[in-house]
């Protein structure tokens, strides 16, 4: 009976504790349960650790259980912890009741929920002087819900934000089976450089198997802004990552991520880094002023980037490395130094469609299709203001329905480029329209229009070049051939020199119309041009020591009759005739008689 009474009293006391959520007295030995010690060991032996469990909260200092709280529910708010854990664990800032400072790492055990809401509008996570004294919030198969709150780090001395290289800089991460949500939150100054045994920690990480969302939230000044590493079905909506030491946003190995209005700016490396996930479609990514590329995708398959925007990212706009069957659609890129769109790496098959790419004093091409790629297609859109509008050193490239203007060289084909086709491309301005080097093969131009090029419309040393249809014009030379070529139904003109064939070059032309201001065709010694059903009009139609063979109805004529020039000659002739008439009528007029000091008497 006595035992029953004692058991009943203990049960009543425990029920009262659980109901009221008050702390239980610490065990005399201050040694935690084995699972707490294991958690402490597993998480790198932090100086202070709060372990949230479904029915209790353990507070461990140096691995020893200091006390245990019983919130009575698996869902705990940070404000509750601040009220019950004690000032040395979580404290309120004096004079700012909604600001709390966290001095402890917080581990969310499975099936627990930590809520950080507007009762704690600002949460200062203390950085430690070393990794163990730093703070973090982490968990797995648990939930972290952050709403209308600013999470930020504070230096170990409490003076200000933790520096980026602080070893105990705070971070937030959620592991397998967990859920992490940010709503209208700001997360700043989080994430740390990894030590030898620990990987770098991003500011916020959805780790493998976790899920959640970020909505209307900003991640600024983190080590890596936010990272989705193997996460599942995470939603990112109206999210900005800026000022990170490393990448702004990393999406790697994540599945089912839904993205809208995601932007990254002023980050230390890539704005948005993509990798490890196939068949991903991302719409409306915006980047600017990142030190690396705006968007960088590596080893992707089936990636679709719709309407991405990049402004002045130092490492270029969009960088696709070894991406198979990837599509960039309606990209808008302004670049001042690197390529607006770069495609490189083996087995790349990329399509760039309807994109507007603008260069400012750029030395890199607007679109660089690098060596080793399997195939690439550029269709629609415009490229302007670059050193080279499109640079091609890879093979299997097709450029179609694209407009290029104001680039120093419109399209430069070099390296070992093979099987390159340009179709319905318009090139305006710059110095050279299309440039093909001697190491390239199987270049074909159809309906290409080059206008207002200051120097050369087409300069080719590519053997076997074929040009069909279109117009080629250049300030000095419209078509400059350094290797064999065939031209068909091409209008060549608006230049001082129509066509030039270098020494020993053989070329053919069918239905070619050459109109030049000075020389129509200049064939250097040993070269030969076979023209069939063509027309050459210029003051000097044929020039040079080479051969120009005419076949069919080929005409070699002067340019359209210069009526104004003719009128000018007539006017000059009339002036001479009238002067002659005047002279004849006044012949024999004597010199005037005048004093000797007057000289001008003729």
């Amino acid at each position: 009976m006595k035992t029953a009474y004692r058991f009943g009293a203990a049960a009543a006391a425990l029920s009262a504790v659980l109901a009221l959520g008050i702390e239980a007295a610490p065990p005399a030995a201050a040694i935690g349960a084995p699972e707490d010690t294991a958690a402490w060991e597993r998480t790198g032996r932090p100086d202070r650790l709060i372990v949230l469990r479904p029915r209790s909260v353990s507070l461990l200092s140096g691995g020893s259980l200091v006390r245990r709280l019983y919130p009575g529910t698996p869902s705990v708010s940070l404000s509750w912890l601040a009220a019950n854990a004690g000032r040395e664990w979580i404290s309120h800032e004096s004079g700012a009741p909604s600001t709390v400072r966290v001095h402890t790492a917080i581990l969310l055990a499975p099936d627990t929920i930590l809520r950080i809401d507007d009762r704690t509008k600002k949460v200062l996570l203390s950085a430690g002087r070393d990794a163990r004294s730093g703070t973090w919030i982490s968990g797995s198969r648990a939930s972290l819900d952050v709403d209308s709150t600013t999470l930020t780090s504070v230096a170990a001395d409490g003076a200000g934000p933790a520096p980026a290289n602080a070893p105990g800089r705070p971070y937030v991460s959620m592991g397998a089976g967990g859920r992490m949500d940010f709503r209208n939150a700001t997360v700043s100054g989080l994430g740390r450089v990894g030590e030898t045994t620990t990987a770098d920690q991003s500011g916020v990480t959805w780790a493998r198997g976790s899920t959640g969302s970020a909505t209307g939230s900003t991640f600024e000044g983190n080590y890596t802004g936010l990272r989705l590493a193997g996460s599942k079905d995470v939603t990112l909506k109206n999210v900005t990552a800026s000022g990170a030491t490393e990448d702004g946003v990393v999406l790697k190995g994540d599945q089912g991520t839904k993205v809208s209005e995601l932007s990254a700016d002023s980050n230390g490396r890539t704005g948005i880094a993509l990798g490890g996930t196939d068949d991903r479609t991302l719409t409306g990514l915006t980047t600017h002023d990142n030190d690396g590329a705006g968007i960088k995708a590596t080893l992707q398959s089936g990636l679709e980037l719709n309407s991405p925007t990049s402004r002045f990212d130092q490492g270029g706009g969009i960088d696709l490395t070894s991406c198979r069957q990837c599509i960039v659609r309606k990209a808008s890129v302004e670049s001042s130094s690197r390529a607006a769109v770069r495609v490189s790496g083996g087995e790349s098959t990329v399509s760039v469609r309807d994109s507007e790419l603008t260069g400012h004093n750029g030395s890199e091409p607007g679109i660089l299709l690098g060596e080793g790629i399997e195939s690439a297609t550029v269709s629609g859109g415009s490229v302007s203001g670059f050193d080279r509008g499109i640079g091609i050193t890879g093979s299997g490239v097709r450029i179609e329905h694209t407009s290029l203007s104001g680039n120093r060289t419109g399209i430069a084909i070099g390296g070992d480029a093979d099987q390159v086709a340009l179709h319905d491309v318009r090139v305006d301005g710059g110095e050279t329209g299309v440039l093909a080097s001697a190491t390239t093969r199987h270049i074909r131009l159809t309906d290409v229009r080059v206008t207002e090029a200051n120097r050369k419309g087409l300069a080719s040393s590519s053997p076997g070049l074929r040009v069909s249809g279109g117009t080629l014009a250049g300030g000095t030379t419209a078509v400059d051939l350094g290797a064999s070529a065939h031209l068909e139904k091409v209008a060549v003109g608006s230049s001082h020199r129509g066509m030039h064939l270098a020494q020993n070059v053989r070329a053919t032309g069918t239905s070619v119309d050459v109109l030049a201001e000075r020389q129509g065709v200049v064939a250097d010694a040993g070269s030969r041009l076979d023209l069939t059903d063509s027309r050459v009009r210029a003051p000097v139609a044929l020039d040079g020591d080479g051969e120009v063979k005419r076949h069919g109805k080929t005409e070699i004529t002067m340019p359209p009759f210069p009526w104004l020039g003719f009128a000018a000659l007539v006017a000059l002739a009339l002036a001479v005739v009238l002067q002659t008439l005047h002279h004849v009528r006044h012949r024999g007029t004597p010199r005037p008689k005048v004093a000797g000091h007057v000289e001008n008497t003729a």
């Binding site: 104004l564 000018a568 002036a575 004093a595």
Partner: protein, 410 residues
């Protein structure tokens, strides 16, 4: 059809950029040929007609040596009287005049117009030659200028002028301008309508009775409310024409005059002449009497338009240089040289070495076009610019401190 249109546009673009300049050049050359053709048919009057002739010379701040040469050249002609109207402050010229058998009238009224009036009022002969004090005559000028007066309709006769002993670029350019004027403009105006737009004040001969008749209008000329001081020669010419008389350029009568050798005076002189021309021509073109002289009206309008059209060519040249279209630049430069040389043939036949001055002449003509526009914009301003006289409060006054002091003393 589409291909044909494409080809046509393609061909047209070949010329399109510089087409406006070409068309404008064609029009300008057409206008020049309209003048040049009758000018080639011009002949001076040849007869034995003679009337008594006096010379009236306003004298102010003239170089004494040139003045003496000029007096001697006038006296070498068969003239009744030489009347020198010398400014009271100009003692040097008075001393020169005292050495010759001439009539000296001392005037204390500044301004050329009053001096001319005093001169012709002092004369008694039928014809009066108004002559500048630096103008040297050939020995037969008096005889030659009388010949056109055989026609009673002729009220005034001008002479052919050249630069006295030209030295340096500017004087050579002035000589080119004068030949262009007397072999083209004045010759054409004489040949077509016997209506020369301006009998130059260096030597212009009028019937004395006509001068007395127009004296008041001459003395009280105003333009837009401002009394006119310079432009006396244009005014006398237009008053003569307005009264139904003819004006004639007798090219066989030759005179020489000094011209400035410095850019500063050259520009001032041109600015003054341009203002006078704008005033006179604008007034003439708005007068009824000009309808009797359509060719004269044409040449006046042509001259006015040319001030603006002349600047189109350097505009295109600048555009071509910016485009680095060196072929066009070379063609246009060559065209300027050749075409201007063709227009200057009468001068080049006389002085072939001037061919090498033609590029400079072309550049000066562009500057002069700018000066003409500047003159139009300041058309109301009355200043002699090369002598110390000006119009202040509607009255001609001396502007040099020395002259003003002498005047006060007088």
């Amino acid at each position: 059809m589409s291909a044909l249109l494409d080809t046509t546009l393609y061909d047209f673009r070949y010329y399109l950029v510089y087409l406006p300049l070409g068309i404008l050049g064609l029009v300008r050359w057409g206008c020049w040929l309209v003048r040049r053709a009758p000018a080639a048919l011009y002949r001076p009057v040849r007869n034995d007609f003679r009337l008594p002739l006096s010379i009236v010379v306003p004298v102010y701040q003239e170089d004494p040596e040139i003045f003496a040469h000029a007096i001697e050249s006038w006296l070498a002609n068969d003239v009744e009287e030489v009347v020198l109207v010398i400014d009271v402050t100009d003692h040097a010229c008075q001393e020169v005049a005292a050495r010759y058998p001439v009539t000296v009238v001392i005037t204390d009224v500044p301004g050329k117009r009053d001096a001319l009036r005093r001169g012709w009022e002092a004369c008694k002969t039928d014809l009066v030659a108004l002559v500048d004090s630096d103008t040297i005559w050939a020995e037969d000028v008096a005889a030659e200028v009388c010949k056109p007066f055989a026609d009673p309709e002729v009220g005034g006769v001008g002479t052919r002028q050249n630069v006295y002993n030209p030295r340096g670029f500017l004087q050579r350019v002035n000589d080119m301008y004068l030949d262009y004027r007397y072999f083209d403009e004045n010759a054409a105006q004489t040949a077509v309508g016997r209506a020369v737009s301006c009998l130059s004040g260096r030597t212009a001969v009028y019937r004395r009775e006509l001068l007395l008749e127009i004296s008041d209008e001459f003395m009280h000329e105003t333009f837009m409310g401002v009394p006119c001081m310079s432009g006396d020669d244009k005014r006398l010419t237009t008053l003569t024409l307005a009264r139904g008389h003819r004006t004639y350029m007798q090219r066989s009568a030759r005179v020489w005059s000094t011209f400035p050798g410095t850019w500063r005076i050259f520009m001032k002189q041109r600015l003054r002449w341009s203002r006078n021309t704008w005033r006179s021509d604008l007034r003439a073109l708005s007068s009824r009497w000009i309808r009797r002289h359509p060719f004269l009206a044409f040449t006046m309008a042509d001259k006015a338009v040319s001030s603006f059209t002349l600047l189109v060519a350097p505009f295109f040249m600048t555009y071509a240089i910016i485009r680095q279209d060196w072929f066009f630049v070379a063609c246009l430069a060559a065209w300027w040289w050749i075409s201007r040389a063709m227009k200057m043939l009468p001068h080049l036949v006389r002085r072939p070495s001037s061919f090498f001055l033609v590029p400079g002449f072309v550049l000066v003509s562009f500057v002069m076009a700018g000066v003409k526009i500047c003159a139009l914009l300041t058309i109301r301003r009355q200043r002699w610019l090369t002598r110390q006289v000006s119009v202040v409060n509607g009255v001609a006054v001396r502007t040099s401190p020395q002259a003003a002091g002498s005047e006060a003393g007088a």
